[in-house]
């Protein structure tokens, strides 16, 4: 099926640039937009533009925010002595949903990926080191938790960041790696199982 309107075709084209949207889904979305009331379409368009205009990076942790400093960094209830280092803003959201962390974050903006040519200078690693070494009487940084993904790129990044933080005398830890909760030993691949065994803790 081909739309006869050029502007509809244009919209389909734009939708199909989004991740996991094929031509078929893009057409379905476009025909849905055609049926939406004009006010709702305007709201959608405004939201899309606003996200680019208003959202910026927190000057402390580099999470996405509407303010200069994000609500987490600005909160008086957060323990600023513990910094959790993550790859992307989505990871902050995931950790916040656990309700189990009261420290603050640092978003690297990716991970060291040699085959893609992504190195430390493309990430906010220098900013992390500056943050940890900055003297703060009230909240001296005591622990840095490396919550990078448990893959080779994550390992490379974690080794490098630990190496930089070592002289600063802070505790550097990494998220435990192993079998997912609710998982089954029998169906866990050997590589994951081996790492879980290596990272075992006392019962």
């Amino acid at each position: 099926m081909q739309f006869t309107s050029e502007s509809v075709e244009d919209l389909v084209e734009q939708f199909s640039k989004l991740p996991s949207i094929g031509r078929k889904t893009a057409r379905r979305l476009a025909s849905f937009v055609l049926k939406m009331p004009k006010t709702e379409v305007e709201e959608l368009a405004r939201a899309l533009v606003a996200v680019k205009e208003r959202v910026r990076f927190c000057t402390v942790c580099f999470n996405v925010t509407d303010h200069e400093v994000c609500p987490i960094c600005a909160s008086s209830r957060r323990n600023r002595s513990v910094i959790c280092v993550v790859e992307e803003p989505n990871d902050v959201m995931a950790l916040e949903r656990t309700d189990g962390f009261d420290g603050v974050y640092h978003v690297l903006g990716g991970v060291i990926s040699p085959l893609d040519g992504i190195g430390p200078e493309d990430l906010r690693i220098r900013e992390l080191v500056a943050r940890v070494s900055e003297p703060d009487a009230e909240w001296p940084v005591s622990e840095v938790i490396l919550a990078v993904n448990p893959n080779v790129e994550g390992d490379t990044t974690a080794f490098y960041v630990s190496k930089l933080l070592a002289p600063l005398g802070v505790n550097v830890s990494r998220l435990a790696r192993g079998i997912p909760m609710g998982g089954d030993l029998e169906y866990t691949d050997e590589a994951t199982l081996a790492r879980a065994l290596e990272g075992r803790v006392s019962a």
Partner: protein, 259 residues
């Protein structure tokens, strides 16, 4: 090229690269024992219930089952199991750097679906040596480069005896043939006059050992910083003379920011 009918391929492989594809899939580049470099599609590899787990990460040594259908760009990988654990590679930044470089170099130099069992064996034995190395793991990088270009037909034409015969403390390496002589007048084959590298006898000797020894023995070679950089320059001079167009340097650039 297309083989006539759909079939199942079971082979050992080293994972060279793994990139996300769509919502839950991955495209994984393998160096397989049976068919050389091969890119495969792995559906559902990134879903939390994926049975592939950590087996599809770069530097993994695995056994794979691939469903091959003629005419398809990417074949489907359906099963994996671990062949070697190689957890030692992931215990130091130095080892990771060497491993990343080896993967990048192999990906760049080897063509798709060109079976080359000696290259597979070289890759596996080098990574296995890297896994168990306690010190001097960096020796494996010049070793791997030299041996891979040798497998591609550019084996240097000299031995330790040639070096022992050098009367001087220095000698020259002829980049095209890999011959060694005291000076340029000693070469039996011609070639452009600029295509030689001068080096110390110690560096030429190390170069010769790297050309002949196996991966494990290379770990026993002691090189101080000066000798190491001389040997690395000699090796990269020799390698780029033969495969210049294909030489990648992303990993090198990234690690230049790190060390």
């Amino acid at each position: 090229m297309a083989r006539e009918r759909p079939h199942i391929l079971r082979t050992h492989a080293v994972v060279l690269r793994s990139i996300d594809y769509g919502e839950t899939s991955r495209i994984v580049t393998l160096y397989t024992e049976e068919r050389g470099r091969m890119a495969v599609l792995v559906r559902g590899a990134r879903s939390s219930k994926s049975r592939f787990g950590a087996t599809l990460e770069p530097m993994s040594h695995i056994e794979v089952v691939i469903f091959c259908k003629p005419g398809r760009d990417l074949q489907n990988l359906t099963e994996t199991s671990q062949a070697s654990a190689w957890r030692g590679i992931r215990r130091s930044l130095d080892k990771l750097e060497t491993a990343w470089r080896i993967l990048e170099f192999t990906t760049a130099l080897m063509h798709e679906e060109e079976a080359h069992r000696d290259v597979y064996n070289l890759l596996v034995s080098t990574l296995a040596a890297l896994d168990v190395a306690h010190a001097r793991s960096r020796n494996l990088w010049p070793f791997f480069q030299l041996r891979l270009v040798a497998e591609l037909g550019f084996e240097p034409a000299f031995t330790r005896e040639d070096i022992a015969a050098l009367a001087d403390e220095r000698g020259v390496l002829h980049l095209e043939s890999g011959q060694v002589a005291e000076d340029v007048s000693g070469f039996t084959t011609g070639g452009p006059s600029g295509a030689v590298r001068e080096a110390s006898r110690a560096a030429l000797r190390a170069f010769a050992i790297l050309c002949r020894a196996d991966a494990r023995s290379v770990l026993n070679m002691h090189m101080d910083a000066t000798l190491r950089s001389e040997v690395e320059a000699l090796v990269s001079g020799y390698v780029s003379w033969h495969v210049e167009a294909a030489l990648p340097n992303r990993t090198e650039k990234v690690f230049a920011q790190i060390s």
